[in-house]
């Protein structure tokens, strides 16, 4: 029997088998189509999940929206394709999506052997553990012998195995297809521990029947830089996605928000003038209009707005900026200058 996953894989294999060489003109195709093909998760609140009206919302969704605003001038011109962890790279390789913005960890294997390029980091994360409060556990070193629910096809599967081996502990991996099933397994007591990136744990915790019955342990056992991914071999498109993200970060740094962007167009600050296309045309090299960054900021907002709205204090997840603060505020987020 074939389920959806196999159809995607088969269709992709078919596409690779029968079609000609990779089409490098993603920008032209996108303009012609009038929408960005964007791969998102199968429902992860804060990062990519449909809201009550069926509109996709989240930090990862905002990357898709930023690309659409830069390329087409309309942040809503996005076709969202929901992908699970196993489908995501094949869907991107075969051209079913043009941007994969799906809390994907940047690793050597993925960057160098899959024919993909990571276009930056929109969230610095690390793997953590969530356990039931009743167990009275306070640290990851007390987890020897635990059954652990993990989502398949993630770097989490590898990092958890490494961590337990390095600390000479044992565990039973209970591996599920979707994050929904993983949470179900944790709630039913199939496993003692739910593990994932800490940001996801925060999102999954609020989906539990009793969020207060679960605690997230303080230990972070790995580096998980999450970011948007594009196909290798189309540098123009790679640049567009990369600089859409940088534009949001630079806007935060210069204090340009969706609220004040119209006033800022007359700013004397040369950095802001270049960002908003008032001084030179920095979109030209990417095949875009001069107002590409203006469109991103006015329609999607800067990085801080996106962060607060989706995962930060303005959202149910209430994640601190921490490592995701700008470089000049104690975090790692650093965008090259526009000039």
């Amino acid at each position: 029997m074939l389920n959806k996953k196999h159809w995607v894989l088969l269709a992709s294999a078919g596409a690779i088998t029968l079609t000609g060489a990779a089409n490098a003109a993603t920008l032209e195709d996108t303009v012609e189509r009038g929408a960005v093909q964007c791969g998102v998760s199968d429902g992860l609140p804060g990062f990519s999940a449909p809201d009550g009206d069926g509109n996709w919302q989240g930090l990862d969704v905002d990357v898709c929206r930023a690309v659409a605003a830069a390329v087409l001038g309309d942040a809503d011109a996005v076709n969202y394709i929901s992908l699970n962890a196993v489908e995501r790279f094949t869907a991107l390789q075969s051209g079913e999506v043009d941007v994969l913005s799906r809390n994907t960890t940047w690793t050597t294997t993925r960057d160098t052997t899959l024919g993909l390029n990571f276009a930056g980091v929109n969230f610095y994360d690390g793997i953590g553990f969530m356990v039931s409060r009743d167990l009275g556990i306070s640290g990851a070193d007390e987890l020897d012998g635990a059954a652990i629910c993990i989502q398949t096809g993630t770097t989490t599967e590898l990092n958890v195995a490494d961590y337990f081996r390095a600390n000479d502990m044992e565990f039973d991996p209970i591996v599920f297809d979707t994050s929904e099933q993983t949470v179900g397994g944790f709630q039913a007591g199939r496993c003692d521990v739910l593990t994932s990136d800490t940001s996801q744990l925060a999102a999954l915790r609020i989906q539990l029947d009793d969020p207060n019955g679960a605690v997230i342990l303080p230990d972070i056992i790995s580096k998980e830089p999450l970011g948007p991914v594009v196909r290798q071999g189309d540098d123009t498109w790679f640049n567009i996605v990369k600089w859409s993200l940088f534009a949001m970060l630079n806007a935060e740094e210069y204090g340009v928000t969706s609220e004040n962007v119209d006033e800022m167009t007359s700013s004397e600050n040369p950095d802001i003038a270049r960002l908003l296309g008032q001084d030179g045309n920095y979109g030209e090299g990417m095949g875009l209009e001069a107002d590409w960054a203006y469109n991103i900021i006015s329609q999607v907002g800067n990085y801080a707005e996106s962060f607060d709205r989706n995962v930060g204090m303005g959202s149910p997840l209430e994640i601190e900026r921490g490592a995701n603060a700008l470089w000049n505020q104690g975090g790692f987020q650093y965008a090259p200058p526009i000039r």
Binding site: T109, T152, A161, D172
Partner: protein, 396 residues
Amino acid sequence: MSVRPNARPAGHKPPFWRDRAKRALVFQLLLTAAVAVFLFYIVGNVQDNLSARGITTGFGFLNNTAGFGIVQSLIDYSSQDTYGRTFLVGLLNTLLVGGLGVIAATLIGFIVGIARLSPNWLLARLATAYIETFRNIPLLLQIFFWYFAVLRTLPSARDSMAFGEVIFLNVRGLYLPEPLFESGFGLIPAAFIVAIVASIALCVWNKRRQEATGKRIPAGWISLALIMGLPLLITVATGVPITWDVPELRGFNFRGGFTVIPEFLALWMALSIYTAAFIAEIVRSGIQAISHGQTEAAQALSLPRNLVLRLVVIPQALRVIIPPLTSQYLNLIKNSSLATAIGYPDLVSVFAGTTLNQTGQAIEVIAMTMAVYLTISLLVSMFMNWFNARVALVER
């Protein structure tokens, strides 16, 4: 004026295009060549496309370290083993659930199929209800039912259901005591084998004697006593060289003993019960295909109903039953790939799931997985064809 080919003088061969056999051969060769060219084009095109897109190809990844854990493995496996070994682990898990599924489905199927034809009204109706229910609900739903509705509602590890303080059942699975064999244990399987050989010899002797003299002894019961008794006798005589490793609640979970994970239980039950409903119908149709005259003739010899079934009806019905039974077995094995929906670590879940995603080698992994199912299916079919030829009615 036309000349009919066979009107030609003997010894004068017609040109090859007028010879049907040769013409057919040419067409076959052309077709084979076309398929070969097509395949050659596809393989070349795939390689070109993959390298143009910067995607690594080849089977070298099978020797790389996998780095992830698998919850159930029939062979030694740790996260330091290779991707090649994850393939084996997944394959064995598929074969385990497929093999045990085939056995259970056959047993349930035969019992229900025969029960459906029983003169006992209640039994027959119950069998009908079973078949109509399980045959008409999609398999995936049945797997979800067993996994989420039945096994997920079991108590947690700390309030497990205990059976005699040695067997425990909870939401983590079924915990059984595991026998640990001490020295001197080798005699017991040896006694078992001796008993089986002796039983076969006894049955053959009994049959010859019956054919020669008409007298028979109850060889079936004697064999059963021999097969059960002899190993038991040896066990006692050698001072019971088995200790049991009884599961114990330590820390998070039960340790020791032997664990049957709930994913396996759910998949196995769902596959067996679903396929058994089809097998029951095949058995029923096979039995009903035997003309009623045969049954009546056997009854006229005052054979009891169980002997009528065993000696007259079932041997003939098997001819009708086995070919469709084969396709049910194949279905069961292929359906076991639904394991991925509940996280049972079968070939599709482990290899075409995790390994595929960690390596990104979609084409190689999917090709290997398809080749495995094809091979298993062809082997099962070959065996069943052989078995069918054995039981086929020999017409004299």
